[in-house]
């Protein structure tokens, strides 16, 4: 062991404190609450007494089964839609390829709870579909297939981008070599390209699974009418409706974390075992083949998917936002900018909500950017003792669904013995967003630090820079482009985050998402739609513009 005369770098200490506050505290309190049901009264009596009741509950098994079923169905449907598109995109010359990429990125950027509102407007009785075509699909919408369908539209881009990128890289690098050594195009695909692409495909499917079991908006909006309860909605019910059942919520949260953690670890294992996509630079488009007679059927498929996933919900939301009254229907006389005027006039608190969310988004981006950079530094570059613990704390949020973070924050900061607490202030929302979104900056900064040779920092130290000066002058500027991209993503997602906002937002504080959600519950659908449209503009356009300026379109997946 090296003698511990080297002092621990201040950046490592800041990272440790920040990770403890943002990640460890909420998670710890969920575990404590699950074990000690009387924790809320400051008592540690009757440990484990709530487990038997909760875990033996037939409803819990049913909800866990529903959660798994939902995850698996979304994965299967996403794969069915995305893989053929990705193969066509990667191996053949599809006209307008870049345009299709952008169109498929948009549904990933639209939060599913907003898309689902557009779908309700379209498919419900007397909805847009009925007004235009004379029939409605309400039965389909408020059913398990409907939930799966709408969630798939949000998550298939993950598979599409992962698979098409891997196939492109593998196809141009390794399949060409197989061709040189005598394989026909088909044989090269089956023997080389496909096996090499499997890890990328498996990892993206696991990510879709994790997204699906954490999703709140879609099951909450559609599932209750279908009698379809999943873990997320059940946890929400236990913390927000009488009778409040905190031990039950904590135990359900642990079950959900276990599922999510399993999916995440499996994904990491798949990628660490065999991953070939990161090894090369730019994929070469020159080796692609012509579609021939398949050109028009393929284009039609791309167009159909893009319209259903992107065009239709956006049009429905825009139509709702521009309708003076929803009952007035799709006629010219009913259209007008009244809802946008109401929002900009702030008669309904919309501007306050917008301001709250935008400032929280900026704050979350700054905090997670700084904390993510320092944590990644501590894990990748420092030799500080205990960095294994920091590594675990940076990975843990990947397996913490938003609802679980919210429950953990309530449990931690609503303890009666606390002298000061961020609970019931907007600060609790900031803590929630930071915990949920920390994995993004950590991932980007970790990748960037791995690219930086150790000697760049060593050289700065030898030439007279203290640890903090070396971090600020050398390391931070070098990771800045990656970190900036991650912070933009944090901003975009935090400004529209739904589930934690619904659960922990203090009385009188509304965010963009709680505003939209409440307008819909109160029947002011038009206002909600107008707000949703503005949100999509802000949170989709901004990151897209900046990322395309930086030339890394699609790489945020």
């Amino acid at each position: 062991m090296a003698r511990s005369v080297e002092t621990v770098s201040p950046s490592v200490i800041i990272a440790a404190v920040g990770l403890g506050l943002v990640v460890a505290v909420p998670f710890l309190f969920i575990v404590l609450q699950a074990i000690f049901p009387e924790l809320g009264r400051g008592s540690l009596t009757a440990p484990f007494s709530a487990f038997a009741g909760a875990l033996g509950d037939a409803k819990l098994i049913g909800m866990t089964g529903n959660t798994l079923l939902l995850g698996v169905l979304v994965v299967v449907l996403s794969a069915l839609i995305a893989i053929p598109l990705a193969v066509a995109r990667a191996l053949f010359r599809v006209p307008g390829a870049i345009v299709w990429d952008v169109l498929f990125l948009i549904p990933f950027m639209i939060p599913p709870y907003i898309a689902v509102l557009g779908w309700i407007m379209t498919l419900q009785p007397r909805g847009y579909l009925e007004q235009l075509a004379g029939f409605n699909l309400t039965g389909f919408l408020f059913s398990v297939p409907g939930i799966v369908f709408i969630m798939t539209l949000n998550s298939f881009p993950v598979v599409y981008f992962a698979v098409s990128r891997t196939l492109e890289t593998v196809g141009s690098r390794y399949a060409d070599v197989a061709r040189v050594f005598g394989a026909s195009p088909m044989r090269a695909f089956w023997r080389v390209t496909l096996p090499l692409s499997t890890p990328g495909l498996a990892a993206s499917l696991l990510l879709v699974f994790a997204m699906a079991i954490e999703e709140y908006g879609t099951p909450a909006a559609l599932g209750s009418r279908a009698g379809f309860d999943v873990l997320v909605t059940a946890i929400d019910l236990r913390v927000s409706d009488w009778p409040i059942d905190l031990p039950g919520a904590a135990i359900l949260s642990l079950v959900l974390v276990a599922l999510s953690f399993g999916a995440f670890m499996l994904q990491r294992w798949v990628l660490s075992r065999r991953s070939y996509e990161a090894t090369t630079g730019k994929p070469q488009g020159t080796a692609k083949r012509d579609l021939g007679p398949w050109k028009w059927p393929v284009l039609l498929t791309f167009g159909l998917v893009a319209f259903v996933a992107t065009g239709l919900p956006l049009l429905a939301i825009l139509a709702g936002a521009l309708s003076r009254t929803i009952s007035g229907g799709l006629v010219w006389s009913n259209l007008g900018p009244d809802n946008f005027a109401a929002i900009l006039g702030d008669t309904t608190g919309a501007l306050r909500a917008l301001g709250t969310s935008l400032s929280l988004g900026v704050a979350a981006a700054l905090v997670t950017g700084l904390l993510g950079a320092l944590s990644a530094y501590a894990v990748v570059k420092s030799r500080a003792r205990g960095r294994g613990v920091l590594d675990v704390l940076t990975i843990l949020p990947n397996a913490l669904p938003g609802i679980v973070v919210a429950v953990g924050l309530i449990l931690a900061w609503n303890q009666p013995w606390l002298p000061v607490t961020p609970y019931n202030t907007a600060l609790i929302l900031l803590l929630a967003y930071c915990c949920i979104l920390l994995p993004q900056p950590v991932r980007y900064a970790t990748a960037a630090f791995h690219q930086i040779g150790d000697n760049l920092e060593a050289a700065a130290r030898v030439f007279g820079a203290s640890p903090l000066t070396a971090f600020r002058r050398i390391l931070l500027p070098l990771i800045a482009p990656s970190l900036l991209a991650a912070m933009l993503l944090v901003f975009a997602v935090a400004t529209r985050e739904l589930v934690a906002s619904v659960v922990v937002a203090p009385v009188g504080v509304s965010t963009i998402s709680t505003y939209i959600w409440r307008q819909f519950e109160q029947g002011s659908v038009g206002l909600g739609m107008a707000m949703a449209f503005l949100t999509i503009l802000i949170t989709t356009a901004l990151p897209l513009i900046v990322l395309s300026l930086m030339g890394r379109r699609g790489s945020l997946l």
Binding site: M1, R3, L456, A458, A459, V462, F463
Partner: protein, 364 residues
């Protein structure tokens, strides 16, 4: 400045060890380097030479032992001076130029850290870049330079702060051979011209022998021999050192009543120590080509490489192969070209052999 520091050791290390997760990387290192001298750390990769350099730089802390720079202890029991307080210059194997700064920005960094004002900084950066012949490149990005130019920038950065001690970590190993030979000469002139004390890590014995006043040959975390270049070549301390310096072939000889023999072929009385078993270093200068009929050693020409001074000929010796050694070959120099596969005889010049008594327990 050189005379001022000659009286004491610029760098010294006593009983230095470093272990990492239970693995001993350095064991019992003792080094003392007078001011104004150059010490080369020479050894194969993984021998611990770069680790030793990083200990001196303060990028690692030793497990036991202590290091002093100019008489002040910088690492030892309860003492650790961080790298930024040791006032060293350093040149890295991968250059370690900061890609987000210009050439001038890289070179100015040490001065900036020392709090030197802008005007003086600019003058000294220009002077340092001129010294390495890159004055015109100041505004460029390091990425736009060739490998050799990048290393010159790294050298300018190492000397701009006028440190008394500069550490070189395999500075030329990423360059091609021709450039390496030019740069060795330039570096030697620079080190002498500035009166620097230098530690120079390399795996290339010709670099070490050219540049250094003292060479430490390292092997498995220890210093196998610390000596001047002349002493090292004349009197290598062990067969391993001789082999690493590529001084010649090591042959194992057995003594009986008639004298020495090698792999069953009698070589006659060659002198040598009074032991039953010995390793002997056979340099090209210790062999002479003779008639095949009367030669003690015979062999077959494996390869002949032309150099401007003649041919370097590799010969495979006849005789039973020794266990553990694939082929026994020796090298000789020759003025005439020899064909591959030609059989020749070799005569040993006993006075040019160097003997290493082998331990008796080692089987042949």
């Amino acid at each position: 400045m050189r005379g001022e520091w000659n009286s004491e050791q610029a760098i010294s290390a006593q009983n230095l060890t470093l272990s990492y997760s239970g693995i001993q990387i350095l064991r019992g290192i003792d080094v003392a380097l007078p001011a104004g001298q150059t010490l080369a750390l020479l050894g194969p990769s993984g021998c611990g030479k770069t680790t030793l350099l990083r200990l001196v730089a303060g990028l690692l802390a030793p497990t036991t032992g202590d290091i002093s720079i100019n008489g002040q202890m910088v690492a030892g029991p309860g003492v650790f001076v961080p790298p930024e307080k040791r006032q060293l210059g350093m040149v890295f194997q991968d250059y370690a130029l900061w890609p987000h700064l210009t050439v001038a920005g890289n070179v100015a960094f040490p001065l900036e850290m020392a709090g030197i004002g802008r005007a003086e900084r600019e003058a000294r950066v220009t002077a340092a870049l001129d010294r390495v012949g890159l004055g015109a490149m100041a505004a460029r990005s390091p990425a736009a330079l060739s490998g050799g130019q990048q290393q010159r920038v790294a050298i300018a950065r190492a000397i701009v702060g006028e440190p008394r001690i500069v550490l070189f970590d395999e500075p030329l190993s990423n360059l091609d051979r021709e450039l390496r030979e030019t740069m060795v000469a330039e570096l030697g002139a620079l080190i002498r011209g500035l009166g620097l004390t230098a530690i120079y890590v390399t795996h290339d014995q010709s670099e070490a022998l050219t540049l250094a006043d003292q060479v430490a040959v390292m092997e498995a975390g220890q210093i196998a021999q610390l000596a001047t270049p002349e002493h090292l070549v004349e009197q290598p301390a062990s067969p391993k050192v001789a082999e690493f310096l590529r001084l010649g072939a090591i042959l194992r000889l057995v003594r009986d009543a008639q004298g020495w023999s090698c792999a069953g072929r009698a070589l006659g009385p060659l002198g040598g120590p009074e032991v039953a078993l010995a390793d002997v270093l056979v340099t090209p200068r210790a062999l002479r080509v003779t008639e095949i009929g009367q030669a003690a050693l015979t062999g077959e020409v494996l390869a002949a490489q032309f150099r401007d001074t003649g041919y370097t000929v590799t010969v495979r010796l006849d005789g039973a192969a020794e266990p553990g050694r694939a082929i026994r070959t020796v090298q000789i120099s020759s003025d005439t070209r020899m064909r591959t596969g030609e059989r020749i005889g070799l005569q040993i010049l006993p006075e040019r052999l160097r003997w290493f008594p082998a331990r008796a327990d080692v089987p042949m």
